[in-house]
Chain length 430, copies 2
Amino acid sequence: MVVGGGFGGLQAVRGLRRAPVDVTLVDRRNFHLFQPLLYQVGTGALSAGEIASPLRGILKRQRNARVVLGEVSGFDLERRRVLVGERGIEYDTLVVATGAEHAYFGHDEWRSAAPGLKTVEDALEVRARILNAFEAAELERDPELRRAWLTFVVVGGGPTGVELAGQIAEIAHDTLRRDFRDIDPGSARIVLVEAAPRVLTGFPERLSARAAAALERLGVTPKLDRAVVNVDAHAVTVQTPDGLRERISARTAIWAAGVRASGLAGELADAGGASVDRAGRLVVGPDLTLPGHPEVMALGDMAQVLDTEARSQELPGVAPTAMQQGRYAAKAIRARLNGRERRPFRYVDKGNVATIGRLKAVMDLRGLRLSGVLAWLAYLFVHLFYLVGLQNRLLVMIRWTVSFLTRGRGARLITGEPAETGAARERIAA
Amino acid sequence: MVVGGGFGGLQAVRGLRRAPVDVTLVDRRNFHLFQPLLYQVGTGALSAGEIASPLRGILKRQRNARVVLGEVSGFDLERRRVLVGERGIEYDTLVVATGAEHAYFGHDEWRSAAPGLKTVEDALEVRARILNAFEAAELERDPELRRAWLTFVVVGGGPTGVELAGQIAEIAHDTLRRDFRDIDPGSARIVLVEAAPRVLTGFPERLSARAAAALERLGVTPKLDRAVVNVDAHAVTVQTPDGLRERISARTAIWAAGVRASGLAGELADAGGASVDRAGRLVVGPDLTLPGHPEVMALGDMAQVLDTEARSQELPGVAPTAMQQGRYAAKAIRARLNGRERRPFRYVDKGNVATIGRLKAVMDLRGLRLSGVLAWLAYLFVHLFYLVGLQNRLLVMIRWTVSFLTRGRGARLITGEPAETGAARERIAA
């Protein structure tokens, strides 16, 4: 049984397609989501449906796989049962890959003022807030409040934060340029807050510097070495290493900082007498199994993998890690069926790419460091290639082509129950 | 000022693009929605963003137009002011075109068990219910309950009801054919309930009969001459003209019957001392103006137009009617600016087309009656042609092509807050 239809879980299921086993995939959503492009849904460049594929559709031809739509509520490792809703489902081998969620450094009260980007609903909420902020600014007469509506703070200078800040800058300068009559969207201020001394800490320093310079040219103000100390509906407050505080008046804040492993990591640790690390990740052995439970594996963003000397392998929390681990899990299961031994999981660094905006990206490919148009093309290519389904690839290609040519953004819908959107706006404004 | 960015309102604004006037378009949503294809969003064939266009984007180059995002809460015809939220906006000429909403024949308690299809949110709710019903059936062990989960009742045999029933049949027989392991989606029962003795009463009788036959071949059971007398979470109860009642056990019902004019029709009638008809539509003169208020016009689904002899012109409640009236309104305003008199509005019947399914449609083009492939191609062509925006046309074309080739449906996402979807399911199941 596989729990979670993300990058890791899906690879595990697919990797077992020719094995003499029955696979049950449990997920609480009926679709696989291509999270690396979720920020484009959040900024109106893509529709949610274009980066999601129904799990049943993906697996319809894999006759040894079945999909169960349901929420896992507990594990009973003794009886080898997973509780899905009210129902217990038995397994011989269990693979859990339920990813991560946002972490607010113990300040969950910041969540309502600074939503993150993990689900389709998150993305539509972020999109509604960004677009509503421009609408509110257009109606606002008070210059100071208007300024606050036109200030956007993105917290976290990793790939998502950088991509998001770049996209908001392009919305303000290009997409909405002629859309308003009373405000100049180009006067919007986009602030990217990062606690480390540079953005994209996963990349070499030189590329971080290039990314920061590209962001500034786009109209983003990176505020480095600034830890967030408060977020509310009116402002984000940051602090420098020497304790100076700065309050940034902004009606829109988006969270792209810390993540924490899915709650099921803790459940599984409790059930199996294992431990979790500081980020809530389940600590698994070099073969991704739970200590003492060779039939239970955990992988992806919810797992922390030890190497053979029991030191932590610090693997990046990205899709390729989960995919490699998912494929490894399937291979390990097949090996066991054939009575072969499994070798420890070894991560292969396939390189790293982040986009900043139109024709701008940075790429680190095993020492080959690129920035600019070539990296940007590589970004587009890689993301189209890994997107599931030919139809989605075609749709995204068209969206990107039209956006590139017109500097437009076709999916600028403010959706959600109108009352809720209104309420959300009131909540922010209050 | 124009209130409402639907087919009528948008044509009125566009028709004034070269006139020496300032136009303010007020809408509570930030996008124009192509409602004729909303049923395809409801059945997972299209994403919502693909049939919607941001109003600001449509009007960005029309420099005499501005968009105000807000909810109209009242009219003051004496002082020529419209109340938008808390704010009064003055006008010289007012065009109101806020469409229609669902009517449950005085049984608003049916709404929760049988949602309709008027907004993007409605469509996503309908989609979630249809897909969740198959999921629930897969998990259900009791054969009778499973049967109820696999029964879908569409109330109303107009174009939307026929199109919806046909699409659900195709989902069951084609799209989901290999998706489940315990149920056969093809065993689903789709019932189309219509109070009149035939479907598509707006079409000639012969085409109605053809449509009904095509529906039956697709696996839809039309129940004609049946008035709905009750809808709840477990069943739809219908009654024959001679008073016999029949209870159809079904966990999913969709409302595609009566509509009622937008509430603003009544507000405007009260403000201007005018009257509304039984469907809540504002009764306007042959030139679409409010009696005694030549500066106020109402059009589209919210208006009932009298002819010069003060008899009601029974115009179909479709997009072409609203578009023609919107263009007429713009022309009338331009005529008045030039001191010319305005002639009464005259509706031009451009024909009528409804699709039933793959390669199946009926068309009535001023006496030319077609059914089958040709009508189906005409349907596709007309809808692509009127869809706003080149990008959306390309996206929908790809979706349709892929769906046609694979019998798939790319946008089968169950979205909405998971808790809500769950709650909705519980509500239905309760």
